[in-house]
């Protein structure tokens, strides 16, 4: 050792002393390396893998949605590849410099970006979604560590808001919500692939790794809707104008092919912009009202009640009867809407034309052999539920289809007779516009109930096209003879309306147009009493030549600013607009005879 107590320190000994210290330290390092790399290898390997290996769902490309316009296929929903820009705050070196540099590229305030970059305890902060490939590229070219982007597919809507509620949207998790997107989610979505990969810190798989496990994603089917886009656009315009005119809560209208169930137009207003669905505050607007929201439909029901009675043979289309103008049932009174009308001798024609509640109640009595009894109730229930398929889902390709409600005919509570009397003219039960339109189609087309359909074609990724066929779910809903009688009765109603002041109901003699108004009372959810301040105006009918071609239904919910009856004043004009539009633009076949 160095004899530093003497005056002669020895540099060789001193060198050897600290050199041996270096060697000891290096020996310690070797021991430590042995500990880390051999003894604790499993521990660190698993730590590394838990960091580095990520499992991904690889989302397949979702199918597109299109519809026809003048015989050409027009896309309604397409996909766009956009980028989600995100940051890993843990590896950002200089937050304010990074924020200042990237904020202008993102079109954001650098203050806001700085705040996001300063997020603690996370390695993933979304800076902006739906960034174009150009902006993403520009941003990555700045090469700030910790800033990255991820490719994401977004739905785009070349036709804007057209048919928004029919289409629905796709949420951030790639799930179809509402409308066709929800109902046909499985078909549109395809099959997810799986990728298990060692990735870089931003989660980008390292191509070099052979541990990657891949299940190829399978693209979704492209679908084509039965909608006629031109018709859809016009019906949407009509519905919107009506909603604005009557300041209604909602206006819905459906045009469907009477002899196939294919929905050609289905519009509600207000609606939403599917491209910006996130901005919607009240989620109920996502609902396709005409499918999802059954209401008490009002007097349009009298068509169904009369058809049931004629079909049962208990009345004929030309039957006359004595109408007392009011009935007292279970202690409650059935009156006509216009007080004092209807008293005296009436016919089935006038029952429908004047929309006599007392007449509908009388018809229900005829189903019970002249009395309001269980037999009549059972018969009406049988027609409503088994023939007209009310209170059942139609099976339309829409999310959240409402079933509506038809009370059971059993005499469980004391008011069942008055309930059924109400049902006969359209209250005390509920049905969606689509259910009513489908039932009417069956009543006027000869008695065949077609399932309403929106799906026209499905094209699989390998190019195989499946054409959807009309689907008959019920025959002999009413007999062909009853159906013919109903067409005559409804044509009579329309003609009479045209004669008595509703000039717009004149469609010319070469076309057959029939239909009926409804002024529906609205139950107050709180008091369970019918409201005095608002009604729903409804109308359902058909337009055609020798045979009905299109069934049309209108639900005008809580219109304002009209005098008279909601059905005639706020439902009928919308029907007429649509019917004229169909005759003028959509080649309704005129009568041959």
């Amino acid at each position: 050792m160095d004899n530093w107590h003497t005056s002669e320190p020895n540099p060789i000994q001193r060198t050897r002393l600290w050199y041996s210290l270096i060697m000891i330290v290096m020996a310690v390092f070797v021991v430590r390396l042995f500990y880390l790399e051999i003894i604790r290898y499993d521990h660190y390997k698993s730590l590394a893998l838990s960091d580095q290996v990520r499992e991904y769902e690889v989302r397949p490309e979702r199918g597109t949605i299109s519809a026809e316009l003048n015989g050409e296929v027009v896309p309604l929903v397409l996909n766009q590849k956009l980028f989600t820009v995100f940051a890993d705050p843990s590896i950002i070196k200089n937050i304010s410099k990074t924020a200042d540099a990237i904020a202008p590229v993102l079109g954001q305030e650098s203050e806001a970006v700085r705040a996001k970059l300063s997020t603690k305890h996370t390695r993933y902060v979304v800076l902006k979604k739906k960034v174009s490939p150009e902006v993403s590229k520009k941003l990555l070219a700045l090469k700030y560590p910790g800033i990255a982007s991820q490719e994401t597919h977004y739905r785009v809507y070349p036709q804007g808001q057209t048919a928004a509620q029919v289409l629905g949207f796709v949420n951030d998790d790639g799930e179809g919500k509402y409308g066709v997107e929800q109902a046909l989610d499985t078909s549109l979505a395809g099959t997810k692939g799986r990728l298990k990969a060692v990735t870089d810190v931003n989660g980008v798989p390292l191509a070099a790794s052979s541990d990657n496990l891949l299940i190829e994603p399978k693209a979704g089917n492209d679908i084509s809707l039965t909608l006629d886009l031109g018709m859809q656009t016009q019906v949407e315009g009509i519905v919107k104008a009506a909603q604005e005119k009557f300041r209604s809560k909602n206006v819905s209208a459906i045009v469907m092919e009477t002899n196939s169930g294919a929905v050609k137009a289905m519009a509600n207003y207000p609606t939403f912009d599917p491209a910006n669905y996130q901005r919607v505050e009240d989620g109920t607007i996502f609902q396709n009202f005409s499918v999802a929201s059954p209401i008490e439909p009002g007097s349009i029901t009298k068509i169904l009640t009369v058809a049931a009675a004629i079909d049962k043979g208990v009345i004929g289309p030309n039957t006359s009867y004595y109408d007392p103008g009011s009935w007292t049932i279970d202690g409650a009174k059935v009156l006509n809407v216009a007080e004092g009308t209807g008293t005296g001798s009436q016919t089935i024609k006038s029952l429908l034309n004047l929309s006599l509640n007392t007449g509908a109640t009388w018809t229900l009595m005829q189903l019970g052999g002249g009395k309001l009894n269980a037999q009549g109730r059972d018969a009406l229930y049988d027609y409503f539920v088994r023939h007209y398929r009310l209170s059942e889902k139609t099976g339309i390709e829409q999310g959240y289809e409402g079933t509506g409600y038809v009370p059971e005919p059993d005499d469980k509570d004391n008011g069942i007779n008055i309930t059924y009397a109400n049902m006969s003219f359209g209250q005390a039960y509920s049905a969606s516009a689509l259910q009513m339109a489908s039932a009417l189609s069956a009543v006027v087309n000869g008695g065949t109930y077609y399932q309403p359909q929106l799906l026209a074609k499905t094209k699989s990724p390998n190019g195989k096209i499946t054409q959807t066929q009309p689907k008959v779910v019920g025959t002999n809903v009413v007999s062909p003879k009853t159906s013919a009688s109903m067409r005559d009765l409804l044509q009579y109603v329309t003609d009479d309306h045209a004669r008595t002041g509703f000039k717009y109901m004149d469609f010319g003699s070469e076309y057959s147009v029939g239909g009926k108004t409804g002024t529906a009372q609205i139950i107050d959810e709180k008091t369970h009493l019918y409201r005095e301040d608002a009604f729903n105006g409804t109308f359902m009918g058909y337009v055609g030549g020798d045979m009905p071609q299109y069934t049309i239904i209108v639900y005008n919910i809580e219109p304002h600013g009209y005098s008279g009856f909601a059905g005639a004043q706020t439902g009928q004009p919308i029907f007429a607009d649509i019917a004229h539009m169909l005759i003028n633009n959509y080649g309704v076949t005129p009568k041959k005879s």
């Binding site: 160095d2 530093w4 005056s7 002669e8 320190p9 020895n10 540099p11 060789i12 001193r14 060198t15 050897r16 600290w18 050199y19 270096i22 060697m23 330290v25 290096m26 310690v28 390092f29 070797v30 430590r32 390396l33 042995f34 880390l36 790399e37 051999i38 604790r40 290898y41 521990h43 660190y44 390997k45 730590l47 590394a48 960091d51 580095q52 890993d88 843990s90 590896i91 070196k93 200089n94 410099k97 990074t98 540099a101 305890h121 390695r123 090469k143 700030y144 560590p145 060692v198 990735t199 870089d200 810190v201 931003n202 390292l206 070099a208 790794s209």
Partner: protein, 417 residues
């Protein structure tokens, strides 16, 4: 080309040693280390380019070429000449530091440590400083040894402490480069120790440094946080202060016995910060495992062993101290760097000599080794310390004793290497 050193103005009173075959092992080991560094940088360059852009391999090759040039220059220009230039060198270092301080930093590296030369090239001023200090400290200490005032506090310790204190403050606090300040301090202390500074004084300085460090750490929250992170790296993976240490441990530990293989490092893909630089040992360990790590430590050990031999056989105090300084420089830096990567020391942000990407480090380490190579021309097996006053000559020079031991064409190192 190489001449016998000419001694002027009584700078070196001892007899000159004869020139002989230099220590080629030094060159071989250095070349191996540089090659390993280049291979690692090459293999992780795709990851680096993907994350941050830039051509790392080309830069490193340029740095190595410059380093070889520097090596040749410093090996050929006599040490005495370098000593005469010491004030120029110190001036250059001071100027470099000043320019670095006024150079606007870039976001990735906010500290004022670099002089940016454009197109991705930059110069780290502290490396110039280390080289200048190597020469000037050696000269200063050697002259004190010669004058016999090495143990005199007033003559030696005081000016040394003042100069190093000033440099330390600039490097450690203004440039926030505590690691480099530590390397400079270690160089000075070890050179002083070898030169013959009294051990009590050195211990005193050591205790003072420890107390100051403890104070600095315990009073500053962020330094405390760093220390905590260092103590428990795996619990602090998600924090800014613990992230690098934790990821370094994961990189080293996941290497296992033989490593993942050259192109298979995953940690370089953004997990481990400064993968090409301060963290390169961890990436190396991930790629080559325990065996590779031991080989690398062995290469460093061999380099240090060569340096030690040259120190012991240096012909005079000045050249001994120069080589001592180089060994102190390289070993301290390697220990601080590797120690941090394997979780034994706190992270300090300095390079692993010869391996790390970083032109300035490679360049000046090359220059320093050039000086060592020059000294290895003149080593003498029997060379011993010249105690004091410089008057006493090497007893063995020009004696039969020396001749008996000397082998043809190869003296000094050849006998034992």
């Amino acid at each position: 080309m190489l001449e016998q050193p000419r001694y002027k103005r009584g700078v070196e009173p001892s007899e000159p040693s004869r020139k002989h075959r230099p220590d080629y092992w030094l060159v071989v080991i250095t070349a191996c280390l540089l090659a390993i560094g280049l291979i690692v940088v090459y293999s992780i360059s795709p990851a680096l380019t993907e994350l941050r852009g830039g051509n790392y391999v080309a830069h490193q090759i340029i740095a190595i070429v410059l380093s070889i040039v520097a090596f040749l220059v410093t090996a050929r220009i006599p040490l005495r000449q370098w000593q005469k230039w010491q004030w120029w060198l110190l001036g250059l270092a001071a100027l470099g530091t000043l320019v670095a301080l006024v150079t606007p930093p870039i976001p990735a590296y906010p500290q004022h440590r670099w002089i940016r030369l454009g197109s991705g090239f930059s110069l780290q001023s502290v490396e110039v400083l280390k080289f200048a200090l190597l020469i000037s400290l050696s000269g200063f200490l050697a002259s004190r040894v010669r004058e016999g005032t090495i143990a005199n506090s007033k003559m030696t310790l005081k000016p040394l402490a003042i100069a190093l204190g000033g440099i330390g403050i600039v490097v450690a606090f203004v440039q926030s480069d505590l690691g480099s300040a530590g390397v400079i301090l270690a160089m000075a202390i070890i050179m002083g120790f070898v030169a013959g500074l009294p051990v009590r004084r050195i211990l005193g300085i050591g205790i003072l440094v420890v107390v100051l460090t403890v104070l600095a750490v315990s009073t500053t929250p962020y330094r405390r946080a760093r220390l905590t992170a260092y103590m428990h790296p795996e619990n602090n993976c998600a924090t800014a202060s613990g992230h690098q240490a934790c990821q370094a441990l994961i990189a080293v530990g996941s290497g296992g016995m033989i490593g993942l293989g050259l192109g298979k490092s995953v940690q370089a893909y953004g997990y481990l910060p400064e993968a090409q630089n301060d963290s390169i040992f961890a990436i190396y360990a991930e790629k080559f495992g325990f065996i590779g790590s031991v080989v690398l430590l062995g290469l460093f050990g061999a380099l240090f062993a060569r340096l030690r031999l040259i120190i012991e056989r240096a012909p005079d105090t000045f050249s001994r101290l120069v080589v001592t300084g180089v060994l102190a420089w390289l070993s301290t830096q390697a220990i601080i760097n590797i120690g941090a990567m394997i979780g034994l020391l706190p992270l300090k942000g300095i390079t692993l000599p010869l391996i790390s990407y970083g032109g300035t480090s490679v360049l000046f380490v090359g220059a320093a080794l050039g000086l060592v190579f020059q000294v290895s021309h003149y080593t003498s097996f029997h060379s011993r310390f010249i105690p004091r006053g410089g008057g006493q000559r090497n007893r063995y020079e020009h004696t039969t004793d020396r001749r008996r031991i000397r082998r043809p064409h190869q003296a000094g190192l050849g006998g034992r290497a």
